[in-house]
């Protein structure tokens, strides 16, 4: 039930040096993988490129063929109102439930703004958000 709202993010280990993002993006383009959202988290000399794509399995296999270390990470994607207070609404639900956000990034699409969250307890986050009337993306919404 809740599993349908768990989305596979691809996480790619990348050195922090010119051209690495271009290499990842080019590989995805050549395999016709569409990127909905991505973010880069960096430490001093390396980072993790995180992306939501339409075909995560394809993305993973092409990147691995190029030598990248790739992992799937479970995230949830919450539709927000694209207006003042939209983020607050979602963040408050999680805060009240004592659910910690490990990281988050967002994109603003045609129909709505979407907040992608990596949280400590995904199952509980999903039920709290749904109970509060929130709307989550399913993996099928991306493909």
């Amino acid at each position: 039930m809740q599993e349908e709202y768990i989305i596979k993010q691809i996480s790619v280990f990348s050195e922090n040096k010119p051209g690495r993002l271009a290499a990842i993006a080019e590989a995805l383009q050549k395999s016709n993988v569409n990127i909905f959202a991505f973010s880069i988290a960096e430490a001093s000399s390396f980072g993790v490129v995180r992306a939501l794509v339409d075909t995560p399995e394809t993305a993973r296999s092409v990147l691995e063929k190029l030598g990248f270390a790739v992992q799937f990470t479970d995230v949830i994607a919450v539709r927000m109102k694209d207006e003042p207070g939209g983020l607050h609404q979602v963040a408050r639900i999680l805060g009240d439930a004592g659910i910690n956000i490990e990281y988050a990034y967002a994109y603003s699409g045609r129909e709505a703004a979407v907040l992608i969250l990596r949280v400590s307890q995904a199952g509980e986050a999903i039920s709290k958000i749904r109970a509060a009337g929130g709307s989550l993306l399913r993996e099928s919404d991306l493909s």
Partner: protein, 431 residues
């Protein structure tokens, strides 16, 4: 006027020196026969202490390599009973374990006298104040110089390392006249006093060692600190510092031939080379009691200087020109790339490929190590990567006694070597 600590021994030449050396060589080989490693090697070479007639017999003796010492960890190279050992120091081993060196009371005395010779040779007396700004503890440079400087009667300030402003304050407040540290640290002190806009007026002599340094560096230190700077040479396997030292001529280092029997060899063939020919320095100890060393391959490249020194002392070696092996000297600490490999092999999250970059940042050596992330160990979380990076740095620090910075790199991104690997890129340049 040249000053001597032990004029007779410092100027011993010709037949009298050779006789002493032959006698001491025989004594050293007989002691070495107490060490299983040497007993075996000497038996293989078909030679025993009784066969030693002159120093010419040296070439019949087997070499000792740094890697041989690994087999003896910890006390396997001690030639006297444990109860006669009064101190140990350690130095880098080629892999996981350090090399342990031991001393009898007589060794400590001999060593202190050798250091006292060196310090007296450059003009230091009981009227001087000596700041010993090197690592105390297991590193031989700290206690070695400390005991030797005390023996001359100097007032010794055991300042050890770190806290540069406090070091400067002590030099000024205590009227320190002589400083012992690594040349890199001396240059760092120089920059700090220049930034502070102060001078070290009492300071007149610097003794610098534990890492190779150039004539350009000498010029910088001498002009900017208004001192005379002298090169100090030694290695833990031969007590520590004190094996050879520059006199006031600053043209080569006098090697104390009553205690050390030096040879220069071609590191590839083992063939003995003559004066003026560059090669690897090999030393046989002549007075070491706890841990005699026969034809120890120092790995240091130098040559004998042929002409006579105006100071009246004997044989000199040129300042060290490099290494015959892959040992690195980082902030005065010896590092073997094999030690790094050994640490990485124990961490399953990374591969065993690595590259080492050495830079000089504000005159201090910095070592950066690129390590390949293991594809299967990648969890997808940045926090795990940072944790792994810290763990590797900590394990390296434990193994090398050195802070390094580790960079995780993508799997398969480091160069693969066919044949001899070139994993170290030294970008320190001349100064």
């Amino acid at each position: 006027m040249a000053m001597f600590w032990d004029k007779e021994r410092e100027t011993l030449r010709g037949k009298r020196l050779e006789e002493l050396q032959a006698k001491q060589l025989r004594w050293t080989v007989s002691l070495a026969e107490n060490v299983p490693f040497y007993r075996e090697r000497l038996r293989e070479a078909g030679i025993s202490a009784d066969d030693i007639r002159s120093t010419d017999d040296l070439s019949r003796l087997p070499f000792t390599k740094k890697t041989d010492l690994r087999e003896g960890y910890p006390f396997g190279f001690f030639a006297v009973p444990r109860r006669e050992i009064v101190r140990v120091h350690t130095t880098s081993g080629t892999t996981g374990k350090p090399t342990v060196v031991g001393y009898t009371q007589r060794d400590i005395d001999t060593w202190s006298d050798l250091i006292a010779r060196n310090l007296t040779m450059v003009g230091l007396t009981a009227d001087d104040t000596f700041q010993n700004a090197v690592n105390y503890g297991l590193f031989t440079g700290g206690l070695g110089f400390h005991y030797g400087a005390e023996r001359t009667g100097m007032m010794v300030v055991p300042s050890a390392t770190g806290n540069t402003k406090r070091q400067i304050e002590m030099i000024q407040d205590f009227g320190v006249t002589a400083l012992h540290c690594t040349p890199g640290y001396a240059l760092h002190i120089t920059e700090v006093i220049e930034e502070m806009g102060v001078t070290l007026d009492s300071l007149r002599i610097g003794c610098f060692g534990a890492e190779a340094w150039s004539e350009t560096m000498r010029h910088e230190l001498e002009t900017r600190l208004a001192i005379d700077a002298y090169d100090s040479y030694g290695m833990s396997e031969m007590y520590g510092p004190g094996v050879a030292f520059e006199c006031t001529e600053k043209h080569g280092l006098h090697i104390w031939e009553d205690c050390y029997l030096p040879e220069i060899i071609d590191p590839a063939t083992g063939e003995t080379l003559g004066p003026g020919e560059k090669g690897e320095l090999v030393i046989t100890s002549l007075s070491k009691e706890a841990m005699p060393m026969i034809r120890y391959r120092t790995g240091d490249i130098t040559m004998f200087i042929e002409d006579e020194c105006p100071c009246g002392r004997g044989l000199r070696i040129a300042r060290i020109m490099g290494r015959s092996d892959d040992m690195l000297v980082i902030r005065g600490i010896n590092v073997f790339p094999s030690q790094i490999e050994h640490v990485l092999l124990g961490i399953p999250e990374v591969g065993d490929q690595f590259m080492v970059y050495i830079d000089r940042v504000h005159h201090l050596d910095e070592m950066t190590i690129d390590v390949e992330m293991n594809r299967s160990a990648f969890s997808g979380e940045l926090g795990d990567l940072v944790g792994l990076q810290k763990q590797i740095q900590q394990r390296l620090q434990e193994a090398l006694s050195l802070r390094t910075s580790v960079r995780l790199v993508e799997p398969g991104s480091l160069p693969r070597f066919e044949g001899k690997a070139k994993r170290v890129i030294d970008r320190r340049g001349d100064l």
